[in-house]
């Protein structure tokens, strides 16, 4: 089943009076349970694509469908609710709330979604990402790779249909990067989690089911 579909998706920004076309007509289709890597040179629109499909921003034209529903023109409160329930985000760095402990960071989205037993669930998720022994640490007390794993645990709290990761390993050493990707693979294989990940690294991209290449705001080959 098709979980994400975009139709002639366009996004331009105005830089002063100059129009910058970040996306220039992107048609994609991503299946439920797929692990997709998005690759391409810097500035070709990868982040823009992820932000639009994650409903952080509104396209200039074109449509976005999630599970067949047109979500293109939802109002901002609806989009927030959709993000909370269906989408997990992992950005390149500084994803965590630094005044909350590791455990509290993971609990927070579940509290927002009024999910019962969120404490037990948070512990389970932190065990899953291998940080069951760091519950009461602050983000500043753990490494960058560990922080990204906490972010992944946090993004899974409300069982989102889609995980969107924008260069999640961009700031990590090779060993930590491999750990993150292996975690993604495991989530994808064991839980059927749909994952869309932007990366620069061909090795990391190569671990995905499929690579979508972007070039100058469109999908290339």
């Amino acid at each position: 089943m098709e979980i994400i579909k975009t139709n002639n998706l366009k996004k331009s920004y105005m830089l002063g009076k100059v129009e910058v076309k970040a996306l220039n007509g992107v048609d994609t289709s991503i299946e439920q349970g797929e692990f997709v890597a998005i690759m391409g040179p810097s500035g070709c629109g990868k982040s823009t694509f992820l932000n639009l499909t994650g409903m952080l921003d509104i396209p200039t034209s074109g449509e976005i469908y999630i599970e067949g529903n047109d979500v293109t023109n939802m109002n901002s409160n609806k989009r927030a609710e959709y993000r909370l329930k269906y989408i997990g985000f992992i950005f390149q760095f500084f994803n965590l709330f630094n005044e909350l402990t590791v455990m509290e960071n993971v609990m927070f989205p579940m509290m927002l979604n009024k999910r019962p037993n969120y404490k037990e669930r948070a512990k389970e998720l932190l065990d899953l990402v291998g940080l069951g022994d760091r519950l009461n640490h602050l983000p500043s007390e753990i490494s960058g790779g560990q922080q990204q794993r906490v972010t992944i645990a946090r993004s899974l709290g409300n069982d989102p249909k889609i995980l969107l990761a924008d260069e999640p390993t961009g700031n990590l050493d090779t060993k930590s990067s491999i750990e993150i990707i292996e975690l993604f693979r495991k989530l994808n294989r064991e839980q059927g989690q749909t994952i869309v990940m932007v990366t620069h690294s061909p090795e990391i991209g190569g671990m995905a089911d499929r690579i979508i290449h972007f070039r100058d705001g469109t999908i290339g080959n």
Partner: protein, 391 residues
């Protein structure tokens, strides 16, 4: 999506207590501002209350008969006294004569107010004679004993048993023995009053059967409005004032004290509120990225607004509560331990009015919350994309 208050509170609390030092300083400023409102206004209430009490206790009765316009004395005192005695709710009355004189001792002279009264009547009517600080009271048939008010005694270096020379306005000069010293707390009174028996004043002034004022005590001071017209008619007098009219003068400067104290407490409160606003504002600016992440995670603008408004509310609740307690304890302390104001030479005590407490609580809290509104709006408007990618 509605705002989940529990999650908002969860985050606000964590955020606000993260920096203990800032939290303590800001809370302290609200504590002091709130306590300040209660204490300053409580002291003003105390001063006003003391003034009213003093006036009622020593200088006026529930009803007071004055001479007709253009007359110096009330004539036919004996008949009027009989009529007063016949009235049901008139518990007591005290005719007084006031005159001017000059009191001298050891080469020092001070012009004084001579207050002549019948000690037995006065005792039943006012508490003036209970205000003796030293010595004993005068008797109605004393011929050469006087009481001297405290500041006058100080100025003339007079003590109990000393002799002082009193020159009456009629030209008569006589030596009296100081039998007691009186202090009422009223500046004018304490500065220049000589008290003597009514009969002695009659003799020296060459008058009889008259009074400058008749103070009346009713069995219930709320009955003045009924008795005022009755007494005017029965006694055939035109100038009768109730205790409320007598203390009206207090409300004039009471109002000006109150507005001064409101300004002082208002300034403190605004300073506290501004610091709350600034601290939350700086925090919002500092946290833009985290606010962006929170929105990306699925919170809406209203939630973010609530988080930061709640931070102001937490400052407010804790600061106002402790401020209320501190204010209350200070007021109770000053109530029990009046202090001497060096400038006006009066004892200042505070008074606890529950109403003041409610006002301080509501105003402080409202102003603190208000201070959080702008930063909270600012936070709710953070744009996700800009915040996360820093563009």
């Amino acid at each position: 999506m509605s705002v989940d208050l529990r999650s908002a509170l969860f985050y606000s609390r964590k955020d606000i207590f993260k920096n203990r030092k800032v939290f303590i300083i800001i809370t302290l400023s609200i504590i002091l501002a709130t306590a300040n409102i209660i204490v300053i206004n409580g002291l003003v209430d105390g001063m006003i209350g003391d003034l009213v009490d003093n006036t009622i206790q020593s200088s006026v009765g529930h009803l007071n008969i004055y001479p007709d316009d253009n007359e110096r004395f009330i004539e036919g005192l004996g008949i009027k006294e009989q009529k007063l005695a016949a009235l049901k709710d008139v518990e007591a009355y005290s005719p007084r004569i006031s005159a001017t004189g000059v009191l001298s001792n050891k080469g020092l002279s001070v012009s004084s107010t001579i207050l002549a009264l019948n000690p037995d009547n006065e005792r039943k009517t006012t508490k003036l004679l209970e205000k003796l600080v030293r010595g004993t009271a005068i008797n109605s048939n004393d011929k050469n004993a006087i009481l001297v008010s405290s500041r006058l005694a100080e100025d003339l270096k007079l003590d109990i048993g000393d002799e002082a020379t009193l020159a009456f306005e009629t030209g008569v000069v006589k030596v009296y023995v100081v039998k007691g010293i009186v202090r009422t707390g009223n500046l004018d009174f304490d500065g220049s009053t000589v008290i003597m028996p009514l009969n002695e004043a009659y003799r020296q002034l060459g008058i009889d059967n008259m009074a400058s004022i008749i103070l009346i005590k009713l069995s219930d001071k709320s009955m003045t409005e009924i008795y005022k017209p009755m007494i005017m008619q029965n006694l055939d007098v035109n100038n009768v004032k109730t205790w409320k009219q007598e203390t009206e003068f207090v409300s004039n400067f009471a109002n000006s004290w109150r507005s001064t104290s409101s300004v002082i407490s208002g300034v403190g409160l605004i300073a506290a509120a501004i610091s709350v606003g600034i601290v939350i504002y700086i925090n919002v600016i500092h946290k833009k990225r985290q606010i962006g992440i929170m929105k990306a995670m699925g919170t809406n603008d209203a939630f973010i607004f609530t988080v930061f408004l709640m931070e102001a509310a937490i400052f407010g609740i804790i600061g106002v509560f402790i401020g209320d307690c501190l204010g209350y304890l200070s007021i109770r302390y000053f109530e029990a331990n009046p202090f001497l104001d060096a400038i006006s030479q009066t004892w200042i005590s505070a008074r606890f009015e529950p109403q003041l407490f409610y006002i301080a609580t509501i105003v402080s809290f409202a102003v603190t919350i208000l201070a959080g509104v702008y930063p909270a709006i600012k936070a709710s408007r953070v744009e996700i994309i800009k915040a996360i990618w820093g563009t």
